[in-house]
Symmetry: C2
Subunit: 343 residues, 2 copies
């Protein structure tokens, strides 16, 4: 059967856009919270194929989304590079900071892919559990975004530590980026071989970069990953998500060569239609807070996304991940309204 | 003598762009820290005309900037509306949250302007202390940004409380906005009468809003303020700063009618030149972290701003406020390089 998400990425607009949600396997679901409580640490959940496959499938069973995205984390690459990565409850990730050229010089160039085998195994399990119309998405973090955590050792306001290091020691910073590019290629290829139908590259913190730095640290590493994956897997379908890139999105699309661009809720519709959707699929871009708000405001926000983008190639999604406090009834309201869409 | 900043706002490009910095009276200056230690609370500093005038003048004496901006805070309007506003050390502002329609119904529509008289007195003092080529800028927060603090009672990630309230209870939220519009007009007019040569409206959190909400909560209240000020003070020169507005900037300019648009460091240069600078002065947009980094990276970032925008009407500034940890030598390096600019 046809997978509507792949159709859109292959250039064929669908009358009713396919729909999935970033972070759709997550804490807003009681069945996720139940399994999460049994799983030990967050990384144990990611690296136990039985669990990771199960939480990946939970939102598919409950909502019938058009795509599943493998349950994992963007920091599995630093983990496989031998960095210490901990997720402390309510704290976000913690790593040993790579905040000087001296420390960066110690970074291993090659990840230990045996550590990532459980992700591939989870993909194989999910693939067996999906029907033939549901696409399976693999992913990685973009080098810039992953590097912001590796440099600071944690999430930081405006990603200041990584930005200052990149200004002061660009060669050292590039060493982190290079390691992430090379290993992300291998990781994404592995995900395709394990059954992923398409890939997404999450550049969550792209939006803090000035144009010159955006070109160097967000676009160029992503371009290298896209080219590197395609060299081994011709025809691979890749969605880029440079969150907050705003008016820099057309340049990102042109230079990276992705088939789809995921846009956040602040995007300006005419720029996106004329300079992005004219050449690629657009994915997005409901405000996750409208999904929390519900009611008429949610209906209006859904209609805005459809009115703005459903005339072209659209994958309906949120503008960022769903938040834990989102009522399930609002997700149902969204899916019903999108699927009832009449062009 | 001619004030170069006003020349640029009046449509006359300067060969060397005027320069000042947002938050130029601030903690990176030892003379500021010394006076701050004597002043009691942060609001005491704002509301003691002698102190506020002195810190406003400090960066002018040290660096000879082309504009002084009155030392104050965007939360003086909620304070004059009778809200409790506290600044706790290292904590940011704290207010009593206006987070339900019931609480919002208690909001006074009219500020007590006797509480703001010290700001006007400080402006008069600064005016006497400035030479005739240095412009004096008054300011207020844009209603959206001020409302985000009034709703949540503090700064919040992604301004989620105000955004959800605005989705769920738009009429109640509009009541806050209306009070801020009306009193901001009166406050800005008072600043012009006390000696301000130009005004800036800071919409620091405009960038989190989707297009429909940006139009309603950022553009429209700003448009009303601009129109209201001009009704009483024809020819008033106003700079708008909808930080993070990205590709929505041209619409903001067109509909608000400001003479200048302050842009952050993530702006896309060709969009700004073609659709903003073609019709207004552009102010910005050095990355404040490049100013911390210093060295070659700072020179290159300065040159990018000049190369991108000095061909048109430019007021050189940062893309946001200067950070406390910025070395003074880097500020000197910036001023020297901008003033040596050869078109």
């Amino acid at each position: 059967m046809i997978k509507s998400l792949l159709e859109v990425l292959s250039g064929r607009k669908q009358a009713v856009p396919p729909i999935w949600m970033m972070r759709q396997a997550g804490r807003y679901l009681p069945e996720y919270r139940e399994l999460r409580a049994k799983a030990g640490s967050f990384l144990d959940l990611c690296f136990t194929p039985e669990y990771a496959a199960e939480v990946t499938l939970q939102p598919i069973r409950r909502f019938g989304f058009d795509a599943a995205i493998i349950f994992s984390d963007i920091l599995v690459i630093p983990y496989a590079l031998g960095r210490s990565v901990r997720f402390e409850a309510g704290e976000g990730p913690r790593l040993d900071p790579l905040d000087t050229p001296e420390k960066i010089a110690t970074l291993a160039p090659q990840a230990d892919f045996t550590k990532l085998e459980p992700v591939f195994e989870a993909l194989r399990r999910v693939k067996r559990g999906l029907d033939t119309k549901t696409a399976l998405i693999g992913f990685c973090g973009a080098p810039w975004t992953v590097a912001t955590y590796m440099v600071a050792g944690q999430g930081t306001p405006d990603q200041a530590p990584a930005r200052i290091l990149a200004y002061q020691h660009p060669e050292a910073f590039e060493k982190i980026i290079d390691a992430l590019v090379d290993n992300s290629i291998q990781y994404l290829v592995g995900q395709l071989k394990a059954g992923a139908d398409a890939l997404q590259i999450f550049d969550t913190w792209a939006g803090v970069l000035p144009p010159r730095e955006f070109a160097r640290w967000s676009i160029e590493p992503t371009r290298r990953i896209v080219a590197g994956v395609r060299q081994q897997m011709p025809g691979a379908k890749i969605i880029g998500f440079p969150r907050g890139a705003g008016a820099l999105l057309p340049e990102y699309l042109e230079r990276t060569g992705v088939e789809g661009v995921s846009i956040d809720w602040t995007a300006e519709p005419s720029l996106i239609r004329e300079r992005v959707q004219s050449r690629a699929a657009v994915q997005g871009n409901l405000d996750p807070l409208a999904l929390i708000a519900g009611g008429d405001a949610l209906d209006r926000a859904i209609d805005d996304v459809l009115d703005n983008y459903a005339g072209g190639r659209l994958i309906f999604n949120l503008g960022h991940g769903i938040l834990p406090e989102t009522p399930i009834a609002h997700v149902e309201q969204m899916i019903k309204r999108v699927r009832a869409y009449k062009p």
